[in-house]
């Protein structure tokens, strides 16, 4: 007899659907990591001297640092001397239009549901597509430029807007922050750059799609978003990778800067290859994301849906420097099979009347391990700081785990910090109830999970909320019926 337990097991061990590889001729950096690697990348990108120096400084810092040991999983050994730190599709000279993009690449993104030809684009979304180490295409550039919005690959920004890059690069996440941030600063290859000028409300969603393709490489991209006074931007990133037996490292850095009255909404749908059901392969996702609400009344909101990666290690944070500024963190993290997620946020209240809100929804299935780790820090000058944290865990089956590590440090008596936490299990009664209304177990689980994650999914831009819902359903899909 097929029991609910069996079905749950099937449901929670479904295979990955974006695991194909693209056969395209690649140009790769020699295997290994040393100062020459850093010089190689910088030369490939035709970078100015100051940036090379900045990278080398980071590299020297990296050499002095240790791998972290405080996380709630065993750090896998990573041999950085056996991978290549730069991989780019060969054909690339400077591209002037989409027609010049290798059709094989366009087909790859098409297959992933990311159409790059503008006439096929979803209305109102501009996309930057990053394939291994380089950006292959950015859409709607012209239209955005008319309004003064800069949205381009990081490499291009270094060439075209060096002053802006120089002014803000590394100001939120210094290379000394942690070993992965140092590594990224040394070897980052591309990523996206966004600048929204004063008083401009960016008219469309900006989106970057990251794809790891090549074997024996890592992806180290860097994203920098600056919202000048009184501006607004909503930005979304998506990610996938082929199925490979080796683990691949992804160590990105994202920096957000919101000036006076500015608002940045940053959404992530992360679906890197999670490894197979026995935990073989998959992406190691070690990412540093931080924003600073520099100006008064500014706001930064992080929303993340994390379904992929063998290991996810990320804590998108907000430094609330400006008075009356607001930081938000909305997260759904799903782990199944042998996936591990150690994720959460840090909210640093520095300015007066600063507010933060943290909603974290963990979903553990199979043998997945899910940890929420969060820090709410209130500085002595942060009068009337407010924080609300809610962190919920949902368990599917009895082989998985959910953990919470909330930290609160307050140096100001007027601060108000609230923390709520719940843990629940998908009940057989809930599944039977839905079965009895004609809904099969697979759909029932998807319905329950989406209901549970709704508060977070509602924060995503409409088109992506639908995608994220499907992704959650697919991630839990099994061979039922």
């Amino acid at each position: 007899m097929s029991t609910d337990l069996d079905i749950l097991k099937d449901v929670s061990t479904e295979e990955y659907k974006y695991g194909f590889t693209t056969n395209i001729e690649m140009e790769m950096a020699p295997i290994g990591l040393n100062e020459d690697t850093v010089r190689y990348i910088s030369a490939k990108k035709n970078e100015p001297e100051w940036l090379l120096e900045w990278r080398l400084k980071a590299y020297r810092q990296f050499e002095k640092m240790e791998w972290p040991s405080w996380q709630n999983f065993e750090m896998p050994s990573m041999d950085l001397q056996s991978i290549s730190f730069y991989a780019a599709p060969r054909k690339k000279a400077k591209l002037n239009s989409l027609e010049e993009v290798d059709p094989e690449l366009l087909a790859t993104f098409e297959k992933l549901g990311i159409p790059l030809t503008e006439q096929k684009m979803l209305a109102g979304v501009a996309v930057d597509a990053v394939f291994d180490s380089v950006s292959v295409a950015t859409t709607f550039k012209g239209k955005l430029k008319e309004m003064g919005v800069i949205f381009c690959s990081f490499g291009e920004a270094v060439q075209e807007y060096p002053d802006l890059v120089k002014k803000f690069l590394g100001t939120v996440v210094p290379h000394t922050d942690n070993i992965f941030a140092a590594l990224n600063a040394a070897v980052f290859s591309d990523g996206s750059f966004v600048y929204i000028p004063k008083g401009v409300r960016c008219p469309m969603e900006l989106s970057t799609y990251f794809r790891i393709n090549a074997e024996n490489t890592g992806q180290f991209e860097r994203t920098l978003i600056v919202a000048d006074d009184d501006s607004y931007v909503s930005y979304l990133e998506g990610c996938t990778a082929p199925m490979r037996d080796e683990n691949q490292l992804h160590a990105a850095v994202v920096e957000l800067i919101a000036l006076e009255n500015a608002e940045i909404k940053y959404s992530t749908v992360q679906n890197w290859y999670p490894g197979d059901k026995d935990g073989k392969g998959g992406i190691y996702n070690f990412v540093t994301k931080r924003g600073i609400c520099k100006g008064v009344n500014s706001k930064i909101s992080w929303t993340q849906v994390e379904t992929g990666s063998a290991i996810t290690w990320k804590y998108p944070s907000v430094i609330l420097r400006g008075d009356n500024s607001t930081g938000e963190f909305y997260s759904v993290a799903l782990t199944k099979n042998k996936q591990v997620a150690d994720t959460g946020t840090k909210m640093y209240h520095i300015g007066k009347n600063t507010r933060s809100r943290i909603i974290s929804k963990g979903i553990s299935a199979g043998e997945g391990q899910n940890s929420y780790r969060g820090l709410v820090q209130v500085g002595s000058g942060a009068d009337n700081a407010r924080n609300f944290t809610q962190c919920d865990s949902l368990l599917i089956g009895d082989q998985c785990g959910a953990h919470t590590f909330p930290y609160i440090e307050s140096k100001n008596n007027s601060a108000m910090v609230e923390h709520e936490a719940t843990t629940s299990k998908i009940g057989e009664d809930q599944i039977f109830y839905l079965n009895q209304r004609g809904i099969d177990t697979e759909k029932a689980v998807a319905l329950i999970v989406n209901g549970y994650a709704k508060e977070v999914l509602n924060q995503l831009p409409m088109e992506f909320a639908v995608e994220a819902q499907k992704l959650l359903a697919i991630s839990l899909e099994g061979s039922v019926g």
Binding site: N435, Q436, R437, D440, G481
Partner: protein
């Protein structure tokens, strides 16, 4: 429509149903009464395929199909509906989204296309009006924070929306005050159309004053020991179950009274 023959079922090795017989024809309302532990809710669970119950003998045919061989969702799609005694809460899932999913799953099973949003909303409004069901409840998360009465009303609302051939009401009257009982009963009566059938499981005769059954059966120790018309319910109310307990060997005689 439903033909149950010599049905035996157990939970955790303990036999609860011990050879139950019941025939329900299209358009009929059957009430099943009986003391606590006689197997009333077990019957509902076994017919709808709840996992913890093992069928150890006998059969249940629904429109000629072996019901016990179907998955719970397929039984529902074939037209068997259970109004739960204790409806569960499913946070974050809107009643409307849930009903649309359920309705379209059932339609897909029958080879029908999904109901368009407009048609669905029309149906929703129609049934809300018919049952005097609060639109605010329809928009809320499935049973989340509903009172006991609201949950029961929501079961009847789902019954109206899904329009099954056979509805089993498992102690729908339990926990209802007299007003709620009236509203729920009125709803059920409005849904009777001469083609659909109802099995009403209840402890009390009170509900049967509002929903008048064609037949009343007494379930005792896992068997139907007596069947009759609505007057039997009154007799039970008056005398209790004890007089039947002594007569439980009359099972075979009782079967003769079963409608054919």
């Amino acid at each position: 429509m439903l033909s149950i023959k010599n049905l035996k079922a157990s939970v955790e090795g303990k036999e609860i149903l011990k050879g139950l017989n019941l025939e329900v024809n299209a358009g009929e309302v059957h009430a099943i009464m009986g003391p606590n532990g006689s197997g009333k809710s077990t019957l509902a669970s076994v017919l709808t395929g709840k996992e913890a119950y093992d069928v150890t003998g006998g059969q249940a045919l629904f429109e000629g199909k072996d019901l016990l061989d179907l998955s719970p969702e397929d039984r529902a799609r074939e037209g068997v509906f259970l109004a739960f005694q204790y409806p569960v809460e499913i946070p974050g899932v809107s009643n409307i989204n849930f009903l649309k999913t359920a309705l379209n799953e059932i339609r897909a099973y029958k080879g029908l296309p999904n109901l368009e949003a407009k048609e669905f909303l029309k149906l929703l409004k129609e049934k809300q009006k018919l049952l005097e069901f609060d639109a605010a409840l329809a928009n809320r998360s499935l049973n989340e924070g509903f009172s006991g009465g609201e949950k029961k009303r929501n079961e009847i609302f789902q019954l109206a929306m899904l329009d099954p051939k056979l509805a089993i009401l498992d102690e729908t009257d339990s926990g209802l005050d007299i007003d709620a009982l009236r509203i729920v009963s009125r709803g059920v009566n409005k849904l009777r159309n001469g083609k659909n059938s109802f099995i009403i499981i209840t402890h009390y005769q009170r509900l049967l004053e509002y929903i008048v059954p064609d037949f009343v059966h007494v379930l005792y120790k896992g068997q139907i020991v007596k069947s009759g018309t609505k007057e039997l319910a009154l007799e039970l109310e008056e005398k209790g179950y004890d007089w039947l307990k002594e007569d439980s060997h009359e099972t075979e005689a009782a079967e003769i009274l079963l409608p054919r």
